[in-house]
Amino acid sequence: MSNDPEKLISLRINGKDISAPRSHSVIQALWYAGYPRVKGVGCLQGVCGSCRVLVRRAGSNKVTTELGCELLIEEGMDVHFLIYPTPPHQSYRLEEIRSSWEVQAKFHEIFPEAEHCRHCAGCTSTCPKGIDVERGVELASKGRFSEAGELFVECVMCNLCQTACPEMIAPNHVALFSRRVTAYFHIRPSNLINRLELMRKGGLKVIE
C-alpha cells in the first residue's frame, strides 16, 4: 500500500481540531481522537441515513452533504453533524385510496407542494446517493409513479433533499409514496396468490 493508511490527517469536526489516521471515516476519526459520538450514528454502512454531515474541503467554499460513516477524512476538512432528521409533515394511509384510479388525485392532496417544484436541482445536488431527485418529483407529479419510484431504489431516507427544498416538498416521501402505491395496487403475483388460496382452504398443513 503506497498510501499509508495510518498516516495522520488533521481536520475539524463540529468545531474540534482533531487528527486521525487517513483510513478513518469521519465518525471513526472522532472516536479515535477521544471524542464521544452517539447521536447521528446508525448502521455505519451507509444504508440507514442517520449520519448526515455538512462538509467543506480545504481551499474550497463549497459545502456538500455526505454520510459520515462513508466519508473518509481529508486534510483540512471542516465537518458538521446534522442530527435529528425531520419527520414527515404530511400524513396519508394507503387504505384510504380506494382504487388505483384515484392515486393521482390523492397524491396532489397529500403533497400539494409537489407541483410547485422550481426545478432548482437543490435536492439532486444534495443527495449523497447520487439520485436524480428532481426528476423523481417531476415524474410523480405527472402521475408516473412506478417510474418515479424506480429512481429511488438506493434512497436511504436521510432527508437531506427535504432540507434542501425551498418549496418544502419532501422529495423522499414523494418517492416513497410512489413506490408504495406501486406495490399496494400493482404487485399481484400469481404464485403467491395461489399459495394463499390453497392455504385458506386448509391445504398444506405442517406436521411437526
Binding site: M1, P5, E6, P21, S23, H24, S25, I27, Q28, W31, Y32, G34, Y35, P36, R37, V38, K39, V41, G42, C43, L44, Q45, G46, V47, C48, G49, S50, Y84, P85, P87, P88, S91, R93, L94, V153, E154, V156, M157, H173, L176, R179, R180, T182, A183, Y184, I187, R188, P189, S190, N191, L192, N194, R195, L196, M199, L204, K205, V206, I207, E208
Partner: protein, 562 residues
Amino acid sequence: MAKGIPYNIALKHYRAQAERPMPQTDFGEELLRQYHPDYLRERCVDLTVGPNAGDPCHRQLAEVLQGDARIDEADLAGSPEVETDVLVIGGGGAGCAAALEASLAGAKVILATKLRLGDSNTVMAEGGIQASVEKDDTPQQHYEDTVKGAHGELDRSLAAQMVMDAPEVIRWLIQQGMQFELDQYGDLMTRRAGGTSAPRVLYFRDYTGLEMMRVLREAVFNSNIEVWDYSPAVELLSDESGHCAGAVVSSLKDYKYILVKARSVIIATGGIGRMHLNDFPTSNHFGATGDGLVLAYRAGARLRDLDIFQYHPSGLAYPPHLAGTLITEGVRSAGAYLLNAAGERFIDELKPRDYVAAAIIRECAEGRGVYAGDGQGRPSVAGGRTPGATDGKCGVWLDTPSIELRQPGIIEKRFPKLLHLGTKCGIDPRKQPPLIYPTLHYQNGGAIIDREAASTVPGLFCAGEVCGGVHGRNRLMGNSLLDIIVFGRRAGQAAAKRAHGFGRGPKKITIEHLRNFRRELMLANMPLARKSPLLFPAYAKFDVDSDYDGLRKTAAAGFIND
C-alpha cells in the same frame, strides 16, 4: 499467530481465472472444534444468578446479563410518568410490525427506539426473506429445512408457526407498500440459499432490508403510533405480582428518564453484534448491544442458547474503516471462490456458514492468509473492531472476478451494493477481489417465547432477533427477516389483546425486581461494577460524555454537592 503474505505481494500474484479446482481436503467437525469462535476455550461460563442460573453463556454476554442496573429508586422519584396500552421497545422490523398491528387493533401505542427509527439490523439485510410460494415447494419443506439447519435443537412449534405464516406475511408486506423482485409475468422471483431444498428466498435487489425498513417506517409515521426516537429503554417496570408493567426510558435529547406505564410491553431490540464477542468485527448496526436481553433477564424472563452465535464468512477485512461490513452470501451462491494468498481454494464455498468461517480462520491462523495490517500494531478504532482486536487485519480473497469472467455483467446486475462497496474500498470487484474475514453477524439464541410471542413473564412480549428458539442453534439465510415480521405481528396483536382485557389502568409500578436481582448478585459475590444494558459500544464513549450526565445519577448528584 502467523502473519500471512503482505497484501501488495499477494495482490501482485493474484490472477483472475474462471475455474479453479475444488480442494480435496475435508476436515469435518474437527475444523469447527479447532477454529470456530464458538468452540474457543474459556469462551463460556455458567450463569450464576437469574432465571438461567447454571446455563452456559458467552463470557461477555454473562457480564452484562449479570451486571448492575443503571438506575435505582432515586431516579424514578422525580421522573415524569406516561401511560399507554402497549409500549414497543426497538424500532427495527420486528418493532415496527408489532406497533402497526397493535395500533390497528385499537391500542394506544408508544414506540421507543434507541436512535433514529429504522437504525437497525433490518435496514442492512441484503439477501432476502424466505416464504414457500413456488409450486414445487411447501410449508412442510420449509419447516424441515429450518429444523435441519438448526441441527434439530429448536422450538418446533415456533418454526411451524413461522413457515405457515410466511405467505401471508409477504402479502402483508406488499400491502404496506414493499416491492419484491418480479419476473416478466409479475410473479415473485425466488432463489435458493444455503440449506433450502427449493428456491424460496424472495428479495429486492441486494436491498431487501432497506426496502422493508423504509416502507415500515413510513407506515409507522403515517399512523397513530407515537414514536419516541433517541430514547433507549434502560429498565423494565413491574407490578406487585411481578408482571411486566412498563419501562424506564431515557432521552438522549433532554437527558432525562421517563416512566412509561404500559399494560403490555414488547421488546424488539435486535442483536448483540456491537458487543464484539471474542473481539470480532461485526456486520451489525451501531445500537446492537444486547440491551433487550438484559432488560428481560432482570425482569425474570428465561432465555436460551446463549453460547452460540453466527459468524458470517464474508465480512470485509480491508480497508480498516469498513472492517466487518457484510458481503452478501449471494456472491458465493453465484459461484465466487474463496482463495488464500497463494490463490488456492481451501473449502467448498457453499458449506454451511460455520464451516466456511472456520476454514477462513484456519487459513489465516496458519499463515496462508493475506496480511493487510499496518505493521505497527496500532490499535484501530474501526467501527467494526474493538481496539486491540486480535485480527481482522488478515483475510482471504473473495474471488468476485471469477464470477464476472463466467457471467459478464452479473455483478452490476445482481449486486449493485457490492459495486458501491467496492467504490468505497477503492477497488472494482469485477477486476480485483475484496479481502474478507468472518464477521459477527447474528444472535441465534435469546428470550424464550410462545406462538403469541409471550415471554415467560406475564405482560412481556418479545419479537425478532432478541428471541431464541425459532432458529435453534443455527439460522438459515432469509429466515430472520421472516421471523421478525411473523412474531412482530403476533406480538402486536397479542399485546393489544392483553391491554384490552385489562379493565382498570396499570397497577402500582415498581422496580422491586431490580432490588431482588441486586440482592442475588451480592449473595453470589458478583461484582457490581459493571453497569448494563450497555446501550452503546465502548468506543462511542457514551459513558464519559458530559452531555449525558443527566442520565447518570452519581455524576449528577456529585455535581449538586459541589
